[in-house]
């Protein structure tokens, strides 16, 4: 396939953000993009979603931060990051030349903090803001906002009030009713919804009888969470109008296709970047080939095309 053909098949637009491909990177799994520059073509990602950023620097959790699980992994990084000021002054100028859409994932300890972060990011270099109300690994990581529809709506409103950028709200799967969460943030003005963040999990060392992770619990990601993620994307897609960015265990284009069929307009690749750092470019090529095989002209033609068995009257 020629590059031009591939580009035509994959190009998309979300809330006015032009994207080369509908493939973003999962926050916290792709650094600032630059770390992968030797290994994958950064111009073929729809955008880099940078690591969760907070107002003040955070050192993250102590002890063991990751563990492997069957078909996945647990992490409890604990939002280690240099803080918004260092990001704006040092990191941003360094990564701008790569020409990626830069989406900043933010976490706050209070509704006001989310607003302040949004205000600071209301600058031309930033394509969008992803509001993380779903980090399971720190008290102030937003999970309190991510499990209560009213609190989630309050954060969304505050962020919207402080920026003209498209606002993506990232939902936690650690809730009973994902649709209620999605509807609440949509009503509060979210321009897009991304899901899922990690599922709260735990691993125990049977030799020492101690938890493996320093933080005791951590977030589960990778192929093992994919069925949960696909189900949630599908349920949310029925209930909201705003575009959805789907993620959770995407390793191949076929995995991505499930999310598009379920109703996602774009997807993000997370844990797969660790297994194969060339995942984003590989999935882009595979996805273009899939679209061509199915005689589709563009990725948008696949969104929400799930065929349900006919119901008997």
């Amino acid at each position: 396939m020629t590059d031009a053909r591939e580009a035509a098949l994959l190009a998309t637009e979300l809330c006015g953000i032009k994207m080369q491909t509908p493939i973003l990177t999962g926050s916290g799994t792709f650094g600032f993009g630059e770390e992968f520059a030797d290994l994958t073509d950064l111009s073929r990602i729809g955008g880099v979603v940078v690591k969760g950023t907070t107002l003040k620097p955070r050192r993250g959790n102590d002890g063991v931060r990751i563990a492997e699980t069957p078909a996945g992994m647990l992490n409890c990084i604990g939002l280690e990051n240099p803080g918004i000021e260092v990001f704006l002054q040092k990191t941003l100028p360094r990564i701008r030349p790569y020409g990626m859409n830069i989406i900043v994932n933010v976490s706050g300890g209070s509704v006001e903090e989310y607003g302040l972060l949004a205000q600071k990011l209301d600058i031309p270099e930033i394509a969008a803001i992803e509001v993380n109300i779903s980090c399971p690994n720190v008290k102030e990581g937003g999970i309190v906002f991510g499990t209560d529809p009213d609190a989630a709506a309050a954060v969304t409103k505050e962020v919207k009030a402080h920026t003209k950028k498209p606002v993506i709200v990232k939902l936690s799967p650690n809730v009973t009713d994902i649709v209620a969460m999605a509807k609440a943030v949509e009503a509060a003005g979210a321009d897009m919804i991304s899901l899922i963040n990690t599922l709260l999990g735990m691993q125990i060392d049977t030799k020492t009888w101690k938890p493996v992770l320093g933080n005791i619990t951590g977030g589960l990601s990778g192929p093992c969470v994919k069925p949960v993620a696909v189900r949630m994307v599908w349920q949310v897609a029925q209930a909201v109008q705003v575009p959805i960015i789907g993620m959770g265990g995407i390793m191949t284009a076929e995995d991505a296709v499930e999310f598009f069929l379920a109703g996602a307009s774009a997807i993000a690749v997370g844990t797969a970047n660790f297994t194969d750092p060339t995942s984003t470019a590989r999935i882009a090529s595979e996805l273009a080939a899939y679209l061509e095989q199915h005689h589709l002209e563009n990725i948008r033609d696949l969104v929400g095309r799930l065929e349900l068995p006919a119901k008997e009257e």
């Binding site: 792709f30 290994l39 931060r65 990751i66 492997e68 996945g72």
Partner: protein, 256 residues
């Protein structure tokens, strides 16, 4: 064109041998990484049996640039290293590397100090500096010092210690270190092994006025400095990543 610093490469197993109980030497055909590798760097090995989401970090031991191969030494400690040990000649892994910052190569006559699997990355230094290094190696017993034959072609002098006295001096590397550095003029000390050994040697090297580098281990996912799994505290308070800023650090940077 500027060569990339690191690549992913399909690498086939050229040789695999159990060199001591549960310790394997594996040779991989991996021309691009062999060409780029510097002493003390490591690779992230992806085991392709479908059971491992995470790669396994392993130090590069020896490079053969003419054949485009490098070797790894690893001990079976869990499912990943067990699965690696089951691979036979001709089977493939995927290798990401070379990664991280290796040892300072400007030393003229350094003393290498190692224990356990820490002797693997040090071997790459001995090989690169053929004839320039002495090696002080410590183990629980004679069996753990199978490394001698691998170091023999590359080092001038080999000094051995065992915890049980079954070979070389009775005691630890730290027991004999002060005397050894008095007998000979070294310009640096490079140490890799259990943390307690590295701390002990680093303290003694400082007392002897010798610059010292240590090589650290921490669980890591990406190996590229992106996921922040392997963050550590440094003496001046700055956070560093073992995968990207290390695994080799100046001792005074990480050990107070």
């Amino acid at each position: 064109m500027i060569l990339p610093e690191k690549v992913t490469e399909a690498a086939s197993v050229i040789a695999q041998q159990e060199v001591a109980p549960d310790v394997f030497r594996m040779e991989l055909s991996s021309p691009a990484i062999t060409e780029l590798a510097k002493p003390g760097q490591f690779v992230q090995v992806r085991i392709l049996n479908g059971d491992h989401i995470l790669r396994r970090p392993l130090g590069i031991a020896e490079c053969d640039r003419t054949r485009g191969t490098f070797s790894l030494f690893y001990r079976i400690v869990g499912s990943g290293t067990r699965d690696l040990s089951l691979l036979v000649h001709g089977e493939n892994v995927n290798v990401l590397g070379p990664l991280g910052h290796g040892f300072d190569v400007s030393f003229q006559h350094p003393l290498l100090v190692g224990g356990g699997m820490g002797l693997s990355p040090l071997l790459s230094y001995a090989q690169a500096k053929r004839g320039a290094c002495d090696i002080l190696m410590g183990g629980k017993n004679a069996g753990e010092l199978f490394w001698q034959s691998f170091y023999a072609p590359y080092v001038e002098k080999t000094i051995l210690t065992t915890d049980d006295g079954s070979l070389g001096s009775h005691g630890f590397t730290t027991t004999v270190f002060p005397d050894i550095v008095k007998q000979e003029t070294y310009d640096g000390v490079l140490v890799c092994g259990p943390e307690i050994m590295m701390r002990g040697i680093a303290r003694l090297a400082k007392a002897a006025g010798l610059p010292c580098q240590v090589s650290l281990e921490k669980r890591m996912a990406c190996g590229l400095g992106a996921c922040l799994s392997c963050s550590i505290d440094t003496v001046n308070g700055a956070r560093k990543k073992v995968c990207k800023d290390g695994p080799v650090f100046w001792a005074e940077e990480v050990f107070a």
